[in-house]
Every structure is written in structure tokens, then in C-alpha cells.
């Protein structure tokens, strides 16, 4: 479906993307995860056509989008894009925003109504977008991009402005809609919760390359390096001679009596996070068992 082949890009300075390869199947939702400046947004903008790669080739559904001699302008790509700031058209109301990309007048109204219903925005149809709440604006932006039936939907840090609870709700809603419609989507985020909740697969980027790709569970359990591990959740690094092992806090089991000392204890919802020390080594451990601070324990994994 989407094939990215050896794409490189630099903006006056070190390369932002280094020969990136990426493939995505139809109907899949992929999360591009990485720290800011790792090149994930640039990759997204290349797919949309806002920037042109220095080298490499991108094609979508068998159609060439860009290579060294060819460039398909963004408006011909049929790729939806939702910006972090949403970029709603401030002079248009909700319906007009959603219908903006629909050329066929006869079916426009029907399509807009379908979208309004899909995102439960019917009551806001005629409202100016400046009066919308964060979650409503989010829905309008996504509805606007979905209205054109894009071959691919791209979301660039789109949920950043929402608070935690709303974010969970919207992610769920968007995922359901995308799955229902079979829309292929890529979204860029630095928030692992976004990625876990919405994505079928994760691709972790660092320094302009994709360092690991897999289902959320695979990547979480077997991070190939410390960066991937820390990007996908809390992690303990255990130095075992030359070797470094990555252990998730919940994989540790605590038992009374041993050479690790509990130095801190924090109650989280339904469990405790203990900080345990042995000499220089510090580990975090998640357990529902009760220990008290200062107690000596042993650990297994």
C-alpha cells in the first residue's frame, strides 16, 4: 500500500532523514514514535508532499508520489493531514470546514452530514470554529480530512493539546472510526500512550532512521536498545558485567530479605512503585505487595 524507499532529506545541516525504508499495509494504523527532532514529522510531510525528499521514492497504492525526477503535488495525492494546531479555517463554520475538500457539490451536503454524524457534531454544524472546545475542534479537523476519503491519513502530534481524559476518549473514537472505514493511517507522536492505544504497529525513529518496528507489545517487551526501551515506558537498566539488560519495573518480583534496600515508596493506583538500591545500582519496581521503606529485599525476574 504505502512504500517508502531509501528516502533521505537534509535542511542546511546534518541529514534529517537517512535512507528511510518503510512499508505499510492497507487498513493498518502505524505510530511513528520518537523524540523531537528525530525526523518523524519530516517523514510525514514528505508523504503528504509538503516537502520533497533529496533522494528516494515514495508510492501509495501503486501510484508513484515522488522520486528523483517526479513529484506529485500534495493536492493530487489524496492524503489527509491533521496538524498539531489543527489549522481549521477560521473564516468557515464547522460544516464548511468539513466540506472544504469536497468538489462534487451534489454529494457534498450528504457527505458532510455523514461526517457530522460519525463524530457526533450535528449540533455544531453551523458554528464558527472559533467557538469550539478542544475536543470538538479535534473531531472537526479529523472529519475534514476523512471527508475526502483519503487513501492515507496522516496525523502530526494531533492530540497534544487535549487533556488526559479527553485524549483517551478521542483516541478511542478515532481508532474506531478509522477501523470501521478501513482507513490506513500514520500518526506521529512522542507519547507512548497515543501509540499503544491507537496503533497496530509502532515504528521508533531516532536520528533520521527507523530503529525498530513491531507491534506495541513486541517493541515494549523486546526493545532493541535503551532509547526504544525508555521511549516505550519506564525501564531499568541492569549492568551485568559487559552486558546491559533492560527490565520493565513490572517484570521484577520482590521478596523479603536480601541485599537490596527499599529507599522510596510511592502509591500509584492499585500498586506501589518501589525504588530499591544496591550500591550504585538503582532499580524501580512495581508491586502490589506491601513493604516498608528501609526494608531489605531480594529481586527476581
Amino acid at each position: 500500500m504505502l512504500v517508502i524507499n531509501q528516502v533521505s532529506k537534509s535542511f542546511q545541516g546534518p541529514p534529517v532523514l537517512k535512507q528511510v525504508d518503510l512499508q505499510l499495509g492497507s487498513g493498518q494504523i502505524l505510530a511513528l514514535l520518537g523524540r523531537s527532532g528525530c525526523g518523524k514529522s519530516t517523514l510525514l510531510r514528505m508523504i503528504a508532499g509538503f516537502d520533497r525528499p533529496d533522494q528516494g521514492q515514495i508510492s501509495l497504492m501503486g501510484q508513484l508520489l515522488v522520486n528523483d525526477n517526479f513529484f506529485l503535488v500534495p493536492e493530487r495525492r489524496n492524503v489527509g493531514f491533521v496538524f498539531q494546531d489543527l489549522a481549521l479555517f477560521p473564516h468557515l463554520n464547522v460544516s464548511e470546514n468539513i466540506g472544504f475538500g469536497l468538489r462534487d457539490r451534489s454529494s457534498r451536503q450528504q457527505k458532510v452530514e455523514e461526517m457530522l454524524e460519525l463524530f457526533q457534531l450535528q449540533s455544531l454544524a453551523g458554528q464558527p470554529v472559533s467557538t469550539l472546545s478542544g475536543g470538538q475542534a479535534q473531531r472537526v479537523a479529523i472529519a475534514r480530512s476523512l471527508a475526502i476519503n483519503p487513501n492515507l491519513l496522516l496525523l502530526d502530534e494531533s492530540f497534544n493539546s487535549l487533556d488526559r481524559e479527553l485524549r483517551y476518549e478521542i483516541r478511542q473514537e478515532v481508532r474506531e472510526v478509522l477501523k470501521k472505514r478501513g482507513t490506513t493511517a500514520i500518526f506521529v507522536t512522542h507519547d507512548v500512550e497515543d501509540a499503544f492505544q491507537m496503533a497496530d504497529e509502532l515504528a521508533v525513529m531516532n536520528n533520521g532512521v527507523i530503529v525498530q518496528r513491531g507491534t506495541p507489545a513486541e517493541v515494549y517487551r523486546n526493545p532493541i536498545n535503551g532509547l526504544v526501551a525508555s521511549l516505550t515506558g519506564s525501564i531499568n537498566q541492569l549492568h551485568d558485567g559487559e552486558q546491559v539488560r533492560f527490565i520493565r519495573p513490572e517484570s521484577l518480583v520482590l521478596k523479603s530479605g536480601g541485599d537490596w534496600k527499599i529507599t522510596n515508596k510511592v502509591f500509584m493506583h492499585g500498586y506501589y512503585v518501589y525504588t530499591v538500591n544496591r550500591g550504585e545500582q538503582e532499580m524501580h519496581c512495581r508491586s502490589s505487595l506491601e513493604f516498608s521503606a528501609g526494608e531489605w529485599v531480594q529481586m527476581e525476574w
Binding site: F50, E75, R76, V79, G80, F81, F89, R144
Partner: protein, 493 residues
Amino acid sequence: MAIHSVWGEAPSWNTLTEGLLIHILGSSAILAAGAFVGTSIVGLSLAIWVAATPNRGKRFFDLLFILPLAVPPYVFAYSYAELVGYGGWLDTWFGTTLDIKNIWGAIFVFTFTLFPYVYLPCRIFLAQKSHWYEVGSSLGLSRYQSQWRLIRPMVLPVAMGGALLAVMEVLNDFGVCKYFGIPTLTVGIMKIWTGYGDYVSAVRLALILMTLVAVILILQPSQKGNDQRLDRTDAKAGKYNALGALFASLVALLSLLLPLSIMIKGVWATGSRVFDHSFALAAWHSCSLACLSAAIAVMVAFAIEFGLRHFPSFLGRRSKSIVLLCYSTPGIIIALGLLLPIVGLDRWMIKNQWTTAVISQSLVLPVLALVIRYTSVAVKSAESGYATVGKHVHESAESLGVPLSRSVFSIDLPLLSPALIAGFVLVFVDVLKELPITMITRPFNYDTLATKAFFMASDERLRESANASLLIVMVSALVLLLLSKKLINGASH
């Protein structure tokens, strides 16, 4: 032509450099500095005061303090000369006269006619950042302290940008300085050209003027990164500060009420004699000329800003510098400089027997010259309009399958329309006041209100000229009134 002239023989250049030039430059510098400080203080103080007043009054004050734009400085100068001179109200009521026809008087005139150049951008800026009072109070600053320590330094660069524009108008002024007998560069240019008949020295002086203005333009901070959306929680509990109210009333009195009452007095005495159908015709000429020039200027400005946004490398910033430089060129030089190639074009067309009609005698000439002179005003407006529109909006449209050729109408134009309308109004009002270009390039039997006012005034019939002046002020005021809301909200959608 100009370049050639600079190296030509300049018979009066020696007399000029003997001392007159230093004198001219000196008085220009004092005048420019005075107008800069004056407009900054008045415009900035008013903007800060109005921003802090209750919301309901804002509309009124905005209008009140934009209106002085409608009063041509030379009309203002004539009115005050009468007001404080022999037999004026000051004389009748207090038995004293005031000498206003000097450089300090000119600074006064320019301060109170040009302060809206500072007021307007400052108000727009403050309308966008009204929550700073809350920030200030959260840091333990009183309202007054917030104003002084937080708001004022923030708005200062904006105010200075506006004041520089005002200085540009001052350097280009002709009427006031000529009447007050102040030798400035523009007066000097005219004197050398027309008096000495020395075109070369005149062009040299003009180049000095243009260089000065170019430096000013470079100094001016460009409005960038102004992409915060309008703060919807406008200052809730505004108060009328007594001292501020006093100051605002004083400004309103000096900039509007007094000159207007002098004009009305003149109209009262002479109106029945002066008003005739030629007056109506002149009013129609003024309005249609201003409307047409402003519309074209706005279109050119939009094309330039549109180009800069979407094809920055293609168009480059150079086109904009050229437009801005045109703004700094004295109107008379633009008019005559344009006449030469147009006559050449006419000659060529007649030679090829394409036409017998002559462009140089049609309205094309004044409109073109006015557009060249004032497009920069519209460009400034369009620029600040685009500053509030993020790039993502255009990319969104593209990703929705709408090419630029269509989104220019559905995105760029509507989003910019408040800024473009603001630009239209400013150019319209400028053209209505404009003198030298209109005077020289107009076709036969084509009077405008400005030419009527000027000729009556230069014939020392000030009371008669008040009729045309008042009409200029009224038309401008009407246009400003209709679109005042757009003017303030223009730059911030």
C-alpha cells in the same frame, strides 16, 4: 534617468552645499525626531489607555483616534494658524496670539495628525495580548505597574514601527513646511527644481531623501511571529482612569474638535457661495480616483504578499523593497518620472498607428502614479494579515485536494480580507488627501477635493478652502467609520 542625472552638471549644488544643505538636513532631522517622539508618546499612551477601558467604550475611542487620519496635515496647519493667529479664537477669548508657524508648530501639527499611525498598530497589538494584565497581577503588579513595566515595553517596538511610518510622511510633506517656512528636503527639492531650474541637484536631494527613508525602512522591525490567536478573554474589568481620560479628551480636542470647528466656521461663512455642481463633481472625482487606486493597490499588495508566502524564492523580498522605496519617493518625482516612459509608450504606439488615443492624458496616469506611491501601505496591511495566518492552513487545503489556484479564493483572500480592507481604507484616505501627483497627472477639467482645497488655500482664501477640506475629512471619516471595526480587528482575525 535619475542615475544619469546624479553625475550631470549641477549648477546650484555649490550654493546648496555652502550651508543651505546643512540647514535643510538639520531642520529635517529636528522635524523627523520631533514627529517621531510626538506621535509615539501620543499614540502609545492613548492605545494603552483605550486598551484598559471598558469594552463598550473601545469602539468609540478607536474611531475617535483613527479619525485624525482623515485630516490632511496642511489643512490642519491652516486651521491652527487661524485659530491661534490674529483675530483667532485665542486672540478673541484670551487676547493673545501664538506663533505656530515654526518648526515646533510643525511638530505639533504632525504629532496630532499622524499619531494614528502609532495608535492603530498598538491597539491591534494590545487587543491580541489583553491577558497580560492578568499575568501582571499574578506577579503582584498593580494595574498601573503592569502598564508601565509590562505593557509599555512590550508595545514599544510596535509603536516605533508606526512612528517611523509617520516620519516618512513628514519627510514627504510639502504643504505644511512650505506654509510654515521650514526648509525641509521635499521643500528643498521643489525649490531647487522649480526655482533654480536645476533638475540635477533636485534629483540629488531626492536621492538623499530616499536613502534616509530606506534606512528608516530597514530599521523598522517587521511584524513577524505574531501568530498568537486573538485572546478571547478580553480584559474584563476595565476602568476609566481619570488622568488618562483627561489626556484622551485633550487629544480629541486638539486633533479633531478645534480644527473641525474652524473648518465648520469657514463653511458657515462661505459654504453657500462655494458649493456648486463643480464641487459635487470634484467630490465624485476624489472618491472614484481614491476607490480605484486603492483597489488596484490592494490587489497588487495581495499579489506580492501571496507570492512571498507561496513562492518565496521565486519572487524574493526584492519586489517588496521596491514597493517600499516607492513610498519614500516624493510624489512629484513619481508623477514626472512616470510621465516620461508613458509618453514614450504613447509615441511608440502612435508611430505604429495602433492608436490615436493617448495614455498620458487619461486617468491611467494618475491612477498608476498613485498606485506606485501607496501600494506599500496596502502591502504593510496585507503583511500583518498574513502574519496571523499559519502556514498549516495552506497545507491543509492542499492535503484536502484543493490546489493553490482555487485556495487563493477560498482561503487566502477571505482570511486576508479584513487586512486587505484595512489596507484599502488607508490607501483610500491617503489618496483623498494626496496633492502633487493628482495635481500634475490629472486630465483636463479634473478637479478633486484636494486640489480645490489646496488652490483656495494657496490663494489665501482659507475660509473657502475649508469647504473642500471638510468634505475630505467627512468622506474619509465615513469610510473609516464604516470599516473601523475591520481596521482594529483586521490584523487579528
